[in-house]
Symmetry: C2
Subunit: 420 residues, 2 copies
Amino acid sequence: MDTKTKPVAIDQLRIDGPRLWDSLMELAQIGATPKGGVCRLTLTDLDRQGRDLVTRWAREAGLMVTIDRIGNGFMRRPGRNNSLPPVVAGSHIDTQPTGGKFDGNYGVLAGLEVVRTLNDHGIQTEAPIEVAFWTNEEGSRFVPVMMGSGVFAKAFTLEHAYAATDTEGKSVKDELERIGYVGPEEPGAHPIGTYFETHIEQGPVLEDNDKTIGVVTGVLGIRWYDCTVTGMEAHAGPTPMALRKDALQVATRLMQEVVACAHRHPPHGRGTVGMVQVHPNSRNVIPGRVKFSIDLRNASDAICAAMDADIRAVAARIAAETGLAIAIEQVSEYPAQPFHADCIAAVQRAADRLGYSNMPAVSGAGHDAVYMARLAPAGMIFIPCKDGISHNEIEDAKPEHITAGCNVLLQAMLERAGVA
Amino acid sequence: MDTKTKPVAIDQLRIDGPRLWDSLMELAQIGATPKGGVCRLTLTDLDRQGRDLVTRWAREAGLMVTIDRIGNGFMRRPGRNNSLPPVVAGSHIDTQPTGGKFDGNYGVLAGLEVVRTLNDHGIQTEAPIEVAFWTNEEGSRFVPVMMGSGVFAKAFTLEHAYAATDTEGKSVKDELERIGYVGPEEPGAHPIGTYFETHIEQGPVLEDNDKTIGVVTGVLGIRWYDCTVTGMEAHAGPTPMALRKDALQVATRLMQEVVACAHRHPPHGRGTVGMVQVHPNSRNVIPGRVKFSIDLRNASDAICAAMDADIRAVAARIAAETGLAIAIEQVSEYPAQPFHADCIAAVQRAADRLGYSNMPAVSGAGHDAVYMARLAPAGMIFIPCKDGISHNEIEDAKPEHITAGCNVLLQAMLERAGVA
């Protein structure tokens, strides 16, 4: 632990923004891309280098590092009462193939910066503080996504995760062993008292509202469907309008309704058709079959179920009106995950106390915090990212927002951990 | 010329249905596919075999065969007054890769059956009768389609046609020479007095109306466009509905309007979106760009122009309402081609006299008759095809309809040629 203590009132305590920024930029050098992004896919040599750097920094900050069997890392700063479960800040350090510098990495290094700040000021917490990094959050190389936190929360088994292979046939187990990150601890055996995750928003809402902090109230539930409309392919010339069974004409009505359905379930309803396949996809042939994806999201499972019923009823009505077959098959479902009221309140209070403009936010994308919320009180802190863009090499965030989010994390963690 | 003459009143004259059917089935053996269709692509060895068979039959029926420099064939039965331009029945014998037995082939062999019938009964016409087959109507192997008749009508040059290459880089000129079908005659030098083309409808209207004969009044004009809607791709989760620039949501509104535009221009308006490309076409990404084809058709160039103005106005309105860019680029235009009133009337009278149920029809697809109509009075005779299906190995037509169409051709040709 650092020894240069500076007495300061807890509510005056601030993290060292430039130090956090420098650490982010240094970690971003591992796997840096020419366009300014990062490609550090999970369980590659670059991932090992990233893990090695972060755990070296942790040890330099006096933390004890534990790795579990799926490669999740826990970096512990003892509290006064070490029988209490730790207050954990975590996220991930793997990236998308054309990822940015902030997604995930920020949440881990913000946790480390909290520790460094506590060390600077010689502050002892009542409960222990931990910083966690979770294996393979991104899911770009191995499916499922949020693998380490999912195994930890027993959403699926360690064996299932180990067996996943990349496109070259390499398995998670082999790659984890190869980079030396199979630890001794059983996933999930590690206690979690409270979990916070600081993250760029990955959406445009904070920027659009000119707010510094998003107080995240939960993560939207997601339902994915494949929809197929079957008509009859025919020549565009010789077939009069009245005798057509145009699958695309019917499919586009339903695609419009996916968006309308989201608007019918405000404020958090989301409806997206992202993928469309037209058969035979020829300029002068009336489409005989159209397959498309539907992505519905909302803030509670009950509203997601209402959206499901809504879109199915609309599809049945359109099928009856047009006489064309419409098949809707659900392919995935992720339940909504509200965060814990105490954690939400802690984040809200910290942001208010620190004088940062803030607003309630929902996360439309999944995070490791979703699984942690099944195990312990959990919450998230969002900061704006430029143009809402993420999973892209041009992903960007402002230093003052990076600093602000970490200050909120510091205050929220101290509230939950208590100061000795 | 056949010598077994049977005296018969002209209006009692009937073609030999089984003989025509047998010839169709025999020609269909060349390039026969396991599924019952025909693959006899233009200028292949199989096309040569087909041409050889048809010209052998023509010579056996006493016809004089002339080939022009683009490989079009003219098979001539002299009239009493050979200074008159011939009354020509024609079509093509090349097929689609997965084509049927009737498309094109029927029009050529119906002309041959007319000649055989005249021979059977020792009937001399005033004007000569000719049967024509046009090179590469289908355009599957070489572009442009309707190549032989197009060169003949000077829609484009012989050199342009010669230079066309297939996917293997083989040229029309080389392939035409290879199969021995470069004739001495200059394309277009051959006089045409009147032109008739008998064809399966390739659409569902006659079958739907339970009619035997379609009296074709013209061929629809066609305009082809590429339309691109540009929005902003973003994550389906974190992006609220109000902050989206969903290119597919806007594109599907316009796709609906393509169909509505056709309905606004009855009775012959056709509007089809056949091809759609969504970018990036990923389930959980709001589409940033959608490109799709528009195919508009109608019976006159003036109405086609009105449809063009209609869809552009709608696109401009949608672009203004949504703020997304919509670009419409016209990629092709084929003018409408009405047929000659005298030819339409001749077909109509023949069908009525023969007691065949009939109705006016338009052709939504192009035919060699479109180019012939630029040179001489022209008309077409449609017969039903099963389920309106063509360009498919399951293309089918009933023997009684095959016979009926040929009887109409016979009577119409005799009306135009005169009986000596």
